[in-house]
Symmetry: C2
Subunit: 344 residues, 2 copies
């Protein structure tokens, strides 16, 4: 039952006694092929169960119709949702995507880039690993003339298209919300300062605190790798202060979860004693007790826009200089029990 030999354009040609070139054109609805021939070709193609050889056409046309996607990890809701939306948009245009994960490792990210270049992808859509410092590998992509689009974790130094949310404003929203709830001593467990998005969140936090004349205590501003474990540690660190905060804003949901666990374990009332806000609106934030306030990053939109940006590049002639474009979306604060002091 196994039919090893694949039908090619030549097989169709020989059945119809026309040239392979005519078959190719018929299948692509070339205007110089008669309707009758087109119909005949398509009929035979269907009968012989013809499947175009993607490799051959990619080789000839110099494009693979593959787009590489690099994410720190696929199992967070944010990234998987971005990926899903990239996929939807690109599939419609005949592109497939290859997903690779860096697991926040710089070395793995470099490998991924090499792998994607080796696979001859037509473009790369990426969100950088936390570890990434050197941009050499990304420059390599650019130097090969392959469209590169960054989202979420990007770098300003690399002059490429970028889609992300307004991290600075998001921090403002959070601080303002906590102030409204009556909080007076707001801590921030932030991400790595060297990563642009986390740095922006920190700046937003600082400026908002200043704006409201609240204490800008260095004890209250902590740098973290934003894992659950580190979230726990940093929360414990905050609880050890003589002068405890009455609110904690964590720059990532996973770390916020660690903080929440510690607060629950120590029977500290959330939000009365300490209000808590995360970042990312991962589904579990709605599931924990108490449900956690967080920032919705519009992952679906980010994915769609990133894919559209790529398509824009792909459709342009290679020598046309692209106008660079940074798209900054507004995020949304989802208030839940963990910071809803007044409702308690």
């Amino acid at each position: 039952m196994i039919n090893k030999k694949k039908t090619t354009i030549k097989d169709i040609a020989s059945v119809l006694k026309i040239s392979p070139a005519a078959v190719s054109k018929a299948l692509h609805d070339d205007s110089r092929i008669s309707a009758k021939t087109k119909a005949a070709v398509k009929k035979v193609a269907a009968e012989l169960n013809y499947q175009p050889n993607h490799l051959a056409s990619a080789l000839r046309k110099g494009k693979s119709n593959l787009v590489g996607v690099i994410v720190p990890r696929a199992n967070s809701n944010f990234f998987s949702s971005v990926i899903q939306n990239i996929e939807e948009v690109l599939n419609k245009e005949g592109y497939n995507i290859i997903i690779t994960q860096s697991h926040e490792s710089f070395k793995k990210e470099c490998n991924n880039i090499d792998t994607l270049l080796f696979t001859q992808v037509d473009g790369i859509i990426a969100s950088m690993a936390n570890e990434t410092i050197s941009l050499d590998y990304y420059e390599k992509i650019k130097s090969k003339g392959i469209p590169l689009i960054l989202f979420d974790r990007g770098e300003n130094d690399l002059n490429v298209d970028y889609i992300g949310i307004n991290d600075y404003n998001s921090s403002h929203m959070i601080v303002e919300h906590l102030v409204e709830q009556g909080c007076k001593r707001i801590a921030h467990i932030g991400g790595y300062k060297r990563t642009r998005i986390f740095n922006n969140r920190i700046k937003g936090y600082i400026d908002a605190i200043k704006k409201h004349n609240l204490p800008l205590d260095s004890e209250l501003l902590i740098e973290s790798n934003l894992t659950i474990e580190d979230g726990r540690e940093k929360m414990i660190q905050l609880l050890a202060l003589k002068n405890r905060p009455d609110a904690v804003y964590v720059a990532g949901d996973y770390a916020a979860l660690g903080a929440l666990q510690v607060l629950n374990e120590q029977n500290i009332n959330i939000p009365k004693d300490i209000a808590l806000v995360g970042f990312g609106n991962e589904p579990f934030t709605a599931m924990v007790t108490p449900a956690m306030s967080s920032i919705e990053q519009h992952s679906a939109e980010i994915g769609k826009l990133a894919a559209l940006k790529f398509l824009e590049h792909a459709k342009k002639e290679p020598f046309v200089k692209q106008t660079l474009n940074k798209v900054i979306l507004d995020a949304e604060l989802i208030v839940r029990d963990s910071s809803n002091v007044k409702a308690q």
Copy 2:
């Protein structure tokens, strides 16, 4: 700075005044090429920043070195961990993977299969969508002679390799554990009966209940699609019974989470009033309150074995009949607070 023209084997050949064939062989360490020539070729290749054209070699060799992976969704920890391990094993052997998601939709799954076949993957590793009934598309893969390996969600009717856990035994372990904890009326919110793995869990549940002479009440055995929402609904349904269960075993962690939310909302003590056990050991099971008992499915191992199975096929001559192999791993019950009655 953009170097559009890529270096090819011919460029290297003309620099060294040898034939392209010699270059190709030198790069592949062919025994018939002198050490001196090999060194020279590699030196020039490096200087010209030569990157092999994967498409050309794939076309010539008739293989793409790509493996397709189909999962219901990538954002559950189970699937993302399986994927990661598949990737690790296959990357070492020079393969890349293309990840596609079916989102539990039969139609999307069929599209994914077509896409992967079109991309000329050398093999497909898949876990079926809940919705999948017809196996025509999977038969299509087989009929093309492309290695197909299923994991987790598989079908016995398709005669292909399979890696999964022992669902039947897992149910036994859970029921036995609950009996040990003193539970007498154990309910099961199961998955779709038509999906083999869920059916096996149901059978295991029934047999274990019978073995312990516990009530096998039809009210206590409910079919669910295992989403959070449905978990909530089915739990509410169980609570509405005149004769409530004192333990609930849910065939999926997400649905179990829905059940847990309902119990918490109604201030029903877990595990004293009702003990709860999930399935899959998703990370959030350890994070919720109370922490939820669940079954660890050894996703890393499943991923590795699936990849190795593929490699086995890939290395064999196509006409050698493969010996089919179903690998059934033993799962592990992780006991946490939600079913630890005695510790309370």
